[in-house]
């Protein structure tokens, strides 16, 4: 039954849908010349959706008989998703203008992906989960192959599509098993059904469901697509893949694990611990040999997802809060990092992706090198940068729930990860210059870059706010 409270609870999605459809018409009739306008309007739509979040909270948490949830958790995740999506839109025009013509479809596709991601994090039912996931994925497949004249971009799109469909299939199979053995698709219904012990069938469903989700968050052993897609996709799209969909997929995983599969906590905890450690280790080791910075960022994202999952493995409200805080800080670092990578352009404006080309950057572009160094040290988890606090929170949650050995292993492996981040800093600061980059970055890029760097440097002052918001988000799950 459709009532007004439900509609108000999904107001952010409605805003995005209306905005996305209108902008699509603008793009269709305005042609390529409307690209600039559509870009800015799309950012406005995202801001509007963000402003609608408090309204949706007021009419939540349940909408449409529990199909959707508008609670503090979804609001936290959506806030992050909208910010990341807006950044991905703002970072794009310069990149596409060099490759040819500006493209008005790009912001529209990002808006549609944002709707899907919003549905993912507020899903209260396996069906909404799937619809949201597919909505996001379809937009993502197109975005990955956005530069369709470029062989690598088409390959990335195709690869993403084939492997993504396989993962969706696995996820659907898991959902079907869970439905079959519990008799419901609603998260709370599944939790109730599992309350009297987890049957074999339910366990199978759980494993398949988590496998499908692990693909979406690119956790080991379902990470194979990540490096190729990250490398092949246009850089702004890679920045987008690295930020918003990661938040959505992690948010979804946390919600499913706690709300739907909560009674099976001990069962999924082992899986999550394995996946977390494997991702941390593999992400760190495989990144060492990379020479392409986008591939490196792909392995780095695998590595980071592993750390984020450590919080989930704790299975406590503090752990869930830590995971969401981790994603918040990670999104800032990723966007900042890609804002730097996007500025790696030669004198003609052609993008360069080789790590070796960063040599001596600290002498030719001091500010850019300093910013990238800040993001790299932060990703490596070196205090006093904010990336350290993200790792601190997840490990603290793990220690608090008695997983001291997991925390000790995980943090020791973070030292391996530090090595390849240091390699980038070494290239920029210790090596002599080889290629000189374009002398100045775009204004928008610089603003985003500076904003991210300031957050990473002074983030500790945000701690009280972040703690409160993430704790409220986690509390709404338990």
């Amino acid at each position: 039954m459709i009532d007004s409270a439900s509609l108000l609870a999904v107001l952010p999605e409605l805003t995005l849908t209306a905005g996305g459809l209108i902008l699509m018409l603008v793009a269709a009739f305005g042609g390529d010349n409307s690209a600039r306008l559509v870009n800015w309007l799309a950012v406005l739509v995202l801001i509007g959706a963000g402003l609608a979040l408090p309204c949706s909270l007021a009419h939540g948490p349940d909408a449409f008989d529990g199909l959707m949830r508008a609670d503090a958790f979804s609001a936290f995740a959506k806030g992050l998703i909208y910010v990341a999506a807006a950044a991905a839109i703002l970072l794009a025009p310069r990149f596409f203008s060099v490759g040819g013509r500006p493209r008005p479809e790009y912001p529209v596709l990002i808006l549609f992906a944002a709707i899907g991601m919003g549905m993912m994090v507020s899903a209260g039912d396996l069906l909404t989960l799937y619809v949201g996931l597919e909505m996001n994925s379809l937009a993502s497949y197109v975005l990955a192959s956005f530069m369709r004249q470029d062989e690598r971009s088409s390959e990335a799109g195709l690869k993403y599509f084939v492997l993504g469909s396989l993962a969706s299939g696995i996820l659907l199979y898991g959902s079907a098993l869970l439905y079959g053995f519990t008799g419901t698709t609603a998260f709370d219904g599944i939790a109730v059904a599992m309350g009297d012990g987890v049957s074999k069938g339910e366990l199978f469903g759980l494993v398949f469901l988590l496998s499908g989700l692990a693909f979406k968050i690119s956790a080991v052993p379902f990470h194979m697509w990540t490096p190729d897609v990250y490398e092949g996709a246009p850089t702004p799209v890679t920045a987008f893949f690295g930020s918003a969909p990661k938040v959505a997929a992690i948010g979804l995983t946390v919600r499913v694990a706690i709300e739907a599969l909560g009674p099976a906590g001990l069962d999924w905890q082992q899986i999550v611990i394995f996946v977390a450690l494997a991702s941390i280790l593999f992400g760190a080791v495989a990144a060492i040999g990379q020479t392409n910075i986008k591939r490196l960022m792909a392995y780095s994202s695998i590595n980071n997802v592993g750390f984020a999952l450590v919080g989930l493995a704790a299975g406590t409200p503090a752990g869930a809060a830590a995971t969401m805080s981790y994603m918040a800080i990670y999104v800032v670092m990723t966007i900042g990092g890609f804002a730097c990578i996007l500025q790696m352009r030669d004198a003609d404006g052609k993008p360069i992706e080789a790590i070796a080309s960063l040599a001596g950057l600290s002498q030719s572009r001091k500010g850019l090198a300093a910013a990238l160094a800040i993001f790299m040290f932060s990703m490596a988890g070196i205090p006093p940068l904010f990336g350290f606090w993200a790792k601190f929170l997840v490990f603290d949650a793990a220690v608090a729930s008695g997983l001291t050995a997991l925390a000790a292993f995980g943090i020791a492996m973070s030292v391996i990860g530090a090595f390849y981040y240091l390699k980038i800093i070494k290239t920029m600061y210790f090596d002599e210059p080889t290629i000189s980059f374009e002398a100045k970055g775009g204004a928008v890029e610089n603003v985003i870059l500076t904003a991210c760097a300031v957050v990473i440097l002074l983030g500790y002052l945000l701690n009280p706010v972040l703690d409160q918001a993430s704790a409220a988000a986690a509390a709404s799950l338990f």
Binding site: I382, P384, A407, V415, A418, L422, K426, F430, L461, L466
Partner: protein
């Protein structure tokens, strides 16, 4: 000075200086850095003067809970005061030492040094466990850049090794800290210092902290990063590394391992003693065969730090006071020795000992000062290191006479390698024409070495100035350790004096027999 946030100010001044440096030219950056460090020196003197000896244990406390889960909590006791004083004393000297030696990318260099000063003061002043960790770890970033950008030929390897080695040591400590905070329910260091952890858990916590501090110290066998880092770092980098950064390890033992885990400390005393004994003998022998001056001094640092750990784990007042004095004295002397190396390195651009010789002929002023610091490093009475080494060895003798015996050989070996070094550089014939043509110390270089010489002698002649502020704190630490301290094997007791006449008679009889 009640309520005036002098510690925050001491951190704010170099921080502001660091930011200003980044926007200045080369010469501007030099002056900004010098002024900022001198202001900090003045503030440091004010801190010392206003420190109430025998007053409250923690003074100049500040507490601002602005970080959510932890707080900006600062405060010092006598031990921290001394180490902060050492830091602010060495920093202007480091800036002066880099005045001409560093010509490329000066603003960044000065900013890195000022940032390092902020973090070092932060480490010694932090009263919050997590704040301490953040300051402790953050020091890696500027040092990594200093070694990597302004270092010698093999700087990249050295910078990686320095960074990853110390990082790996520290991360396990963080896990232990988290556990402690959950157990004790507070992040305040003064509270944790009196909290009694379960002795079984202490074992693990102690090991985690040990992993970090042993690397930082550095103790044998995890000392290998130090010679590499020292050799490749620029002169001022070596000074600050040997002078202050190594002291963080010792400070960590005094502030964390000993008071927070007394039982585990006693339980693992044999481990520390054993490693220290090996270090004293082994690294001294290694120092003896070095042909690179900086490497030789780096190995001598490891040997001196072993005396520190031996004194710390003597569990008595003398030993711990001695350790602190060795740390302070070594901070001055090794810093000065690295400066002495820097002086001739700047002239000839080689650290090979054999390329020099007979410098006392053409550089008499240099030879005098170098001799003073060599003697101080050996531990000659009247210099700073004698006081510390004597007290440390006295302390350990009460705990274990065997350890004292082995550790004392370090003094003899120290005399051997340092005097041998001095002979090869300053005495003998002037075999190398270019070395014989080197001019003597400039005014700037004398101005750098003279304060160190004065401080070295002051500490040797009147150590009370330095011991007095720490005495009460070390006494409190000894009291905290007393229930757990292992029994000593030397069984020192006062002998009963014999009646004078009898003794005289016996002596006479003996004389008679001999005749």
């Amino acid at each position: 000075m009640d309520g005036f946030p002098i510690l925050s100010l001491m951190m704010a001044v170099p921080m502001a200086g660091a930011i200003a440096c980044l926007f200045a030219g080369a010469n501007g950056a030099r002056w900004i850095a010098l002024i900022a460090t001198l202001v900090d020196l003045v503030l440091g003197i004010a801190l010392w003067v206003n420190f109430d000896q025998g007053g409250l244990q923690w003074q100049f406390q500040e507490y601002y809970p602005i970080f959510g889960r932890f707080a900006w909590a600062l405060g010092i006791d006598g031990i921290a005061l001394m180490l902060i004083a050492l830091t602010v004393f060495l920093m202007p000297i480091c800036i002066g030492a880099s005045w001409e030696a560093i010509q490329k990318r000066v603003p960044e260099y000065m900013a890195a040094f000022l940032l390092m000063e902020v973090l070092m003061i932060g480490v010694f002043a932090a009263q919050d466990l997590y704040l301490f960790y953040i300051m402790f770890e953050a020091g890696l970033i500027p040092m990594y850049l200093v070694i990597g950008i302004w270092g010698g030929a093999d700087r990249i390897y050295a910078s990686y090794k320095f960074f990853l080695y110390t990082l790996l040591g520290s991360v396990l400590m963080l896990i232990a800290m988290m556990w402690m905070v959950h157990e004790a329910g507070t992040t305040e260091i003064p509270v944790l210092m009196t909290y009694n952890f379960d002795p079984h858990v202490q074992t693990w916590l102690w090991l985690a902290f040990f992993a970090s501090f042993a690397v930082k110290m550095p103790m044998w066998p995890v000392h290998t990063w130090l010679p590499d880092a020292h050799v490749q770092a620029p002169t001022a980098g070596s000074v600050i590394l040997a002078g202050v950064l190594l002291k963080m390890g010792g400070y960590g033992f005094i502030r964390f391992s000993l008071p927070m885990f007394p039982e585990a400390s006693a339980q693992f005393a044999w481990l520390v003693w054993g490693l220290s004994m090996v270090a004293v003998v082994y690294t001294s022998l290694v120092a003896l065969v070095q042909s690179d001056m900086k490497k030789l001094i780096a190995y001598s640092s490891v040997a001196h730090m072993a005396i520190v750990t031996v004194g710390l784990f003597a569990f008595n007042q003398a030993g711990i006071e001695g350790s602190m004095m060795v740390m302070l004295g070594h901070g001055l002397v090794s810093g000065a020795l690295f400066l002495c190396v820097g002086v001739i390195y700047d002239r000839l651009h080689t650290r090979e000992i054999s390329r020099y010789g007979g410098l006392s002929i053409n550089m008499p002023k240099y030879a005098v000062l170098f001799l003073l610091f060599t003697m101080a490093s050996v531990g000659l009475p009247g210099t700073s290191n004698f006081v510390g080494e004597f007290l440390s060895l006295m302390g350990i003798y009460q705990a274990s006479s065997w350890v004292a015996l082995v550790a004392t050989t370090g003094i003899i070996l120290g005399a051997a390698y340092m005097l041998y070094l001095y002979r090869r550089i300053c005495y003998g014939d002037q075999v190398n024409a270019d070395a014989a043509a080197m001019p003597d110390l400039s005014v700037r270089e004398i101005a750098l070495l003279a304060p160190l010489a004065v401080a070295t002698l002051w500490m040797g002649v009147y150590p009370e100035s330095f011991l007095a502020p720490m005495r009460a704190d070390i006494h409190a630490l000894e009291a905290r350790l007393a229930p757990a301290a292992p029994a000593g094997d030397s069984k020192i007791k006062m002998g009963a004096p014999k009646p004078a006449g009898e003794g005289h008679h016996e002596e006479a009889a003996a004389h008679g027999e001999a005749h």
